[in-house]
Amino acid sequence: MNTGTTPKHPLDGLLRTDRIPHIWCPGCGIGTVFSSALIAISSTGTDPMKTAVVSGIGCSGRGAGYVNLDSYHTTHGRAIPFATGMKLAKPELTVVVFSGDGDLFAIGGNHFIHAARRNMDLTVICVNNLNYGMTGGQAAATTPHLAKTSTTPMGNPEVPFNLPLLAYASGATYIARWTMLHTRDLTQSITEALMHTGFSFIEVLAPCPTGFGRKNKLKNSDLLRIYQEKAIVKNGANPAETILDLEQGITLGKFVDYDRPTFEQNYARIISN
C-alpha cells in the first residue's frame, strides 16, 4: 500500500500493490521484463480495462498475479489456448500471454505453434531463463546443450529450440528477441507487438541465478555479463541465422514484422461468403 511518505511508483496503477512483495528471487530477471511489459502496455494508450493478461505455470507465470488488469493464471502450458478463446469471444480485448519457456515451449509447445499458424491476434511474451526455475532448476526445451541442471547433472544431452526460428516456421508475424538488459529495445518491441495485428512473439532472456546460475556456477553478475558481452544486435536477421549460444553469441533484434490475415479476419471473410 502507498502511504504519504513512500513515493508512488510510476506503474502503481498497473500493479496489484497489495500483492507485493512478489515471489521472485533476488537477482531474478523476470521483474525487469514484467516492468517493460507494463510500461509498454501503458505507452500504447490502449484502454487498460480492455487489456487482459493470461499466463501459465512457473515463475514467469506468476506475472499475471501481480498485474492490476484482468488477469488469468491458468494451467501449465495452456495460457495460449485460454487466451485464444478469450480473444475470439471478445475481439476488442488486447490479450497478452506472459509466461516462461518451460510453460510455452515444452508442455505448451503444441499450442504455441498452432496459435502462430493461425496468426491469432495475441501478444506472447516468453521469459526465457533456460530452465525450470519454479521446481528447482531442471532441464527445459531451451537449456543449452551440455549445461547442467538438476535433471542433467552430467550435462544436457539435448539441444535447445531456437525460439525465433520455431515461431517463424510456425507462422508468427512479429518476432523479436532481447535480453532483460536491453530494456529500451525490449519495451519498444513489446509496444510494437501490442499494436501489431496478428501473432506476436517476443523472447526475453532473463537470468535465473537460483536455478540455472547455481548449477552452472554462474553468478548473477556472470550471467548478466554474458548477456551484455555476447549480444549481437541484428535487426531484420533471418531467424534461421540467429543464434543463442552463451559462448558464441546471442543474436538479438526484431527479426520479423509483416502482415497476413489473422484467424479472426479470415473467419469473418469466409463466413460472410
Partner: protein, 387 residues
C-alpha cells in the same frame, strides 16, 4: 443471420440435437477436436454458429479445446465442447481449472467403449466415475445423462442453465447409441425456453471480490474487459482471487466450490420415477440403458412382478437421499448400466445392506437388452420373495 432456435419438428441424431440444444441455450462459442462418436456435434456447430453470430474453432487437441472454452466463458460468452473418452481424458486438466475458477461451460462426452482407443464406433457408459473424479483433487461436479435425441436437446439447455447458475462446468454424459440414433426432436418456441445466466456484479468495481459468494453460495462473475480487474487462478485463492497457500484458505475455497452444489441438491438433481410407488424391485438406470430398463419393467409387471424404474437424469451429484429412502421400502435393486459397475457402487452404498443390489451391465459395444434385464428381475424377485 439464421434463427438460433429452430422451432418445429425435426428428425435429428443425438449429436445434432445436442448442438441445437446448445444454440437454443445461447451457446455462442465452440472449441473442439474431431473424435468419433462426437464429431457430428462439432460439425454441426461449425455450420450453425457463424450463422447465429457465434464462433467455432477447431483446436489442436482436446486440452486446448477445454482451455479455449474457459477463456471464452471468462470473456462472457456461453461456451461448449464435445468429445469422447480419449478426449475426455485430456480435458480433465482444465475441467479442474474450470472448477477452481468457477467458470461456467458445458462439456459433452458421447461415450464409447474404453479403456484407451477401445471401440470408437460403439457405445458404452464407462466414463461415469471419470466424470465424477477424473480431475485431481476433491470437488463437486454436475453430470447429466440423456437417453434420446429429444432428451439431449433439453438436457443441453439444462446443462447451460445449471452451469450458469452455479458457475461450474457441467457434463453431458451421452453415449454413442444416443449420439447416433436419429429420432423425432421437437424444438419449442424460443419464448417457451427458460434460460438462466450467471450472476453478475453490481456496485463499486474497486470493492468487487470475484469469489465472494452471493446469497445462493455463488459469486457474481465479472468478465474480462469490464473494468473489474479480476484475478483468476488455479492456485488455492481467497475471495479476492488472490493465491493463499495455507490449509485454512484451502478449506475455505473447498467449502465455496463444493458447498454451492451440496446446498442446492434439491434444485440441481432431476430424476424420474416410473412405476416405483409399490415396487419390490427398483431398477436404477440412466441414458440409453434406462430405455431398455423401462421396457423390462413393463414386461415384468405383465408377469406380475412389481418392478419399477428410478431413472437418473442427473447422475452427479448422485441422488443419494432418494436411493437411501428407496432402500427402506424395496426388496432389491438392479443397476442397469453399460459398464462393469460404476453407478452401481453408489447404489450399493445407498442400499446400505438393507436391500440386495445386483448389476446388469457389460463392458460396452452393444446396448443392454430388455430380455437380459427381465431375466435378472425374475431371478432377483424369486430370491427376495417373502422377505
Amino acid at each position: 443471420m439464421e434463427p438460433a432456435v429452430l422451432t418445429g419438428e425435426h428428425f435429428f441424431n443425438g449429436d445434432v440435437a445436442c448442438a441445437e440444444g446448445a444454440l437454443a441455450a445461447g451457446c455462442r462459442f465452440f472449441a473442439g477436436y474431431p473424435i468419433t462418436p462426437a464429431t457430428e456435434v462439432a460439425e454441426h456447430m461449425s455450420k450453425r454458429l457463424p450463422r447465429v453470430g457465434g464462433v467455432f474453432i477447431q483446436m489442436e487437441d482436446e486440452i486446448s479445446a477445454m482451455a479455449a472454452i474457459l477463456g471464452a466463458s471468462c470473456a462472457g460468452v456461453k461456451s461448449m465442447t464435445a468429445t469422447s473418452g480419449p478426449g475426455f481424458s485430456l480435458m480433465m486438466e482444465n475441467i479442474g481449472l474450470g472448477i477452481a475458477i468457477e467458470t461456467p461451460c458445458v462439456l459433452v462426452n458421447v461415450q464409447r467403449a474404453g479403456p484407451s482407443t477401445g471401440l470408437p464406433t460403439l457405445g458404452a457408459q464407462g466414463d461415469m466415475m471419470q466424470a465424477r473424479w477424473g480431475s485431481h483433487g476433491h470437488y463437486e461436479i454436475i453430470a447429466l445423462a440423456p437417453s434420446s435425441p429429444q432428451e439431449i436437446f433439453y438436457q443441453t439447455i439444462t446443462a447451460f442453465n445449471l452451469s450458469e447458475t452455479y458457475r461450474i462446468p457441467v457434463l453431458i454424459m451421452a453415449d454413442e447409441i444416443v449420439g447416433h440414433l436419429s429420432e423425432r426432436v421437437i424444438i419449442p418456441d424460443p419464448a417457451k425456453i427458460k434460460l438462466h445466466s450467471r450472476p453478475r456484479p453490481k456496485g463499486r468495481k474497486d470493492r468487487f471480490k470475484p469469489f465472494q459468494p452471493g446469497p445462493n453460495g455463488v459469486a457474481p462473475m465479472a468478465h474480462a474487459g469490464e473494468g473489474y480487474m479480476v484475478h483468476f487462478t488455479g492456485l488455492t485463492h481467497d475471495e479476492r482471487g488472490y493465491p493463499v497457500m495455507t490449509a485454512e484458505a484451502q478449506a475455505e475455497m473447498m467449502e465455496r466450490i463444493t458447498g454451492k452444489v451440496r446446498r442446492n441438491l434439491d434444485k440441481i438433481i432431476q430424476v424420474e420415477k416410473y412405476r416405483l410407488e409399490d415396487a419390490d424391485i427398483a431398477l436404477v438406470s440412466y441414458g440409453i440403458s434406462s430405455r431398455s430398463s423401462q421396457a423390462a419393467v413393463d414386461e415384468a409387471r405383465e408377469k406380475g412382478i412389481k418392478a419399477g424404474l428410478f431413472r437418473l437424469l442427473t447422475v452427479w451429484p448422485f441422488p443419494e437421499e432418494i436411493v437411501c429412502e428407496l432402500a427402506s421400502r424395496v426388496k432389491g435393486f438392479i443397476t442397469v448400466e453399460l459398464n462393469l459397475g460404476q453407478i452401481h457402487l453408489e447404489v450399493q452404498r445407498c442400499a446400505r445392506g438393507m436391500a440386495p443390489a445386483i448389476l446388469v451391465g457389460h463392458a460396452g459395444g452393444s446396448a443392454i437388452t430388455p430380455e437380459e434385464i427381465l431375466a435378472n428381475i425374475e431371478e432377483l424377485a424369486g430370491r427376495v420373495q417373502g422377505k
